[in-house]
Amino acid sequence: MKKIAIYLMCGPGTPELAEAAVEGGADIIELGFPFSDPLADGPVIRRAGERALAEGMRTAPCLECLAATRRNLEAPLIPMTYASLLEAYGYERFAADAADAGATSLIVADLPVDAEPGLRRVQLVAPTSTDDRIALAAQRTDGWLYLVTVTGTTGAREGISSALGGLIERTRRLTELPLYAGFGISTPEQAAAAAEVADGVVVGSRAVEIATDGPAALRDYVSSLREAVDSVSAVSS
């Protein structure tokens, strides 16, 4: 079965939203710890981050949000953030406290695979990555590889990136790990198209947008993704 990961920005409503996403069929929840200068993010997640910071969602409240989300969920929870937060908090301390609060792993958007090798995390690979770097990322990653489907930042796009097929093909030759595709996937059609070649999809910006309409809207949206992705699984299995 293909996996669906849903990204949500940490905030007061996040535990309830995460439950709704899982009810709708999400397998993994990524929890955004906002940073003031998020280089990898497009406008939607950037604005969500600005709002979260304005509401006081600094590292400690985000860890509390993670713990609160964990209380009612068994699904993997993965904080996604930027190196500056870990620099300030301490890399080891951050990893330990996140794990204590219920984190399954960690994603750091601006920490390439050769930086901080001691920090166990899900590694990202991009269409521009060389085979050597993909192999290193596969060796060091925590369970699965996050395939960035586009050269660009997060956010909805038309269609599905033509780079994805080639990246999957190259990566499959180097590792047997599950490959989840993210960046630029927003519609059920795009999710289905990505799931045809990848083992899972990550949906961020569109989920963050819909989350502003509340848990019910998010559950329905994730259900539509689930249905689309499962139709592919049924055909390919």
């Binding site: 940073f35 003031s36 200068d37 998020p38 280089l39 990898a40 497009g42 950037r46 600005e50 910071l53 600094r58 590292t59 400690a60 930027y82 190196a83 500056s84 937060l85 870990l86 620099e87 300030a88 908090y89 958007a109 601006d110 920490l111 390439p112 695979v113 050769d114 930086a115 901080e116 090798p117 590694q123 990202l124 690979v125 991009a126 269409p127 521009t128 990555s129 060389t130 770097r133 990322a137 960035v148 586009v150 050269t151 660009g152 930042t153």
Partner: protein, 373 residues
């Protein structure tokens, strides 16, 4: 801790999304090849001389600082009116070697944007400059200049709508268009190898100044002083004297943007350095009358030089800078940029007699700001 790419002790590195790493590798290789190629150095020297106006003069400011010997390294006389051209010319030649014909750049006050637009016009490159909408309002003449030079200025509406956000947005453009685009960063900041590239391209300032002051005075200066925002004119000046342990190196930050004086170690725009950030690593806003110093980060080499003690960093407030601005205009007939006015303000306070100041740019752009006070 010695992560790959840490270039200056604990500082530097490459804290960027994976997408950019191959481009940074390509840039590093291209830069090393260029440095080893005499044709590259020859072309750069010819451009600096015939197009830029190098070497820039060294001027003794006797009326500005009576009883002392204060020399001004006149980067204000370089084409486009600031040291920024040294870097823009060098990176344009590098971009051409890499086969990139689209340039993105960020700008605060507009001086680096103008330098970028200038070299793109000269080389026939497409040029997109990101600029905070607040800075566009404050620095309207430079926006007009960039337009005349054929560049597209894209307003950035996020956050403080100033240099910090413009830099982030330029990097995002680069992430998106990395196959065709060179990011022409304006200061000795950003992921490796940018701080080194910019530092080496600006080192011409210190090289010339050292020769010139030896020719005039027969000795080295006791102090070399420059303003520090991102820190490129200072790193360029210091480069000429790093090995001369008798020369005090002093960087002057804006008091409200003292990344080195009051900052903490953190990560911004791709490198680890000293920056204005809170205890959670969230980057704080800087405040200065001078848009060019209004940046919460600083080049990683400066953080390194501070920690090793080779250079010292002090702050100057808006009022001190304004006073020095007026004093240089009235005593020497030179209108300095507000950025360089911070260095001028401190130059008057040293006990030493022979002082070298980098006059990094001219102040025409600042008239409206100064006259409104």
């Amino acid at each position: 801790m010695s992560a790959p790419g840490r270039t200056f002790g604990e500082y530097g590195g490459r804290y960027v999304p994976e997408t950019l790493i191959p481009a940074l590798d390509e840039l590093e290789l291209g830069w090393r090849e260029a440095l080893a190629d005499p044709a590259f150095r020859d072309e750069l020297e010819a451009l600096g001389r015939d197009y830029g106006g190098r070497p820039t003069p060294l001027t003794l400011a006797e009326r500005f600082a009576p009883g002392k010997r204060v020399y001004l390294k006149r980067e204000d006389l370089l084409h486009t009116g600031a040291h920024k051209l040294n870097n823009a010319l060098g990176q344009a030649v590098l971009a051409r070697r890499l086969g990139k014909r689209r340039i993105v750049a960020e700008t605060g006050a507009g001086q680096h944007g103008v330098a970028s637009a200038t070299v793109c016009a000269r080389f026939g490159f497409d040029c997109v400059v990101y600029m905070g909408s607040e800075d566009m309002r404050r620095q309207a003449p430079n926006v007009e200049r960039m337009g005349l030079l054929g560049a597209e200025v894209r307003p950035v509406e996020f956050g403080t709508k100033t240099l910090k956000e413009a830099t982030s947005e330029a990097i995002r453009d680069w992430i998106t268009n990395v196959e065709t685009t060179h990011y022409l960063i304006g200061s000795c900041v950003g992921p490796a190898p940018y701080p080194k590239i910019v530092g080496e391209l600006q080192a011409v300032i210190g090289r010339e100044a050292r020769e010139q002051i030896l020719a005039s005075e027969g000795r080295l200066p006791e102090v070399a002083v420059a303003c520090v925002g991102g820190g490129s004119n200072a790193i360029g000046l210091f480069a000429g004297f790093l090995d001369d342990s008798s020369v005090r190196l002093v960087g002057v930050e804006a008091a409200g943007a003292a990344s080195l004086g009051t900052g903490r170690a953190g990560v911004l725009h791709g490198s680890r350095s000293s920056l204005l950030a809170d205890e959670d690593g969230q980057v704080l806003d800087a405040h200065s009358i001078s848009a060019g110093l209004d940046y919460p980060g600083v080049g990683p080499e400066h953080a390194f030089l501070r920690d090793t003690g080779r250079a010292e960093y002090v702050g100057a407030g808006d009022e001190e800078a304004l006073a020095a601005f007026r004093r240089l205009a009235e005593t020497e007939g030179i209108i300095p940029a507000l950025e360089a006015s911070h260095a001028l303000a401190k130059a008057l306070e040293f006990d030493e007699e022979l002082i070298l100041v980098c006059l990094s740019g001219r102040g025409d752009k600042d008239l409206a700001e100064v006259l409104s006070r």
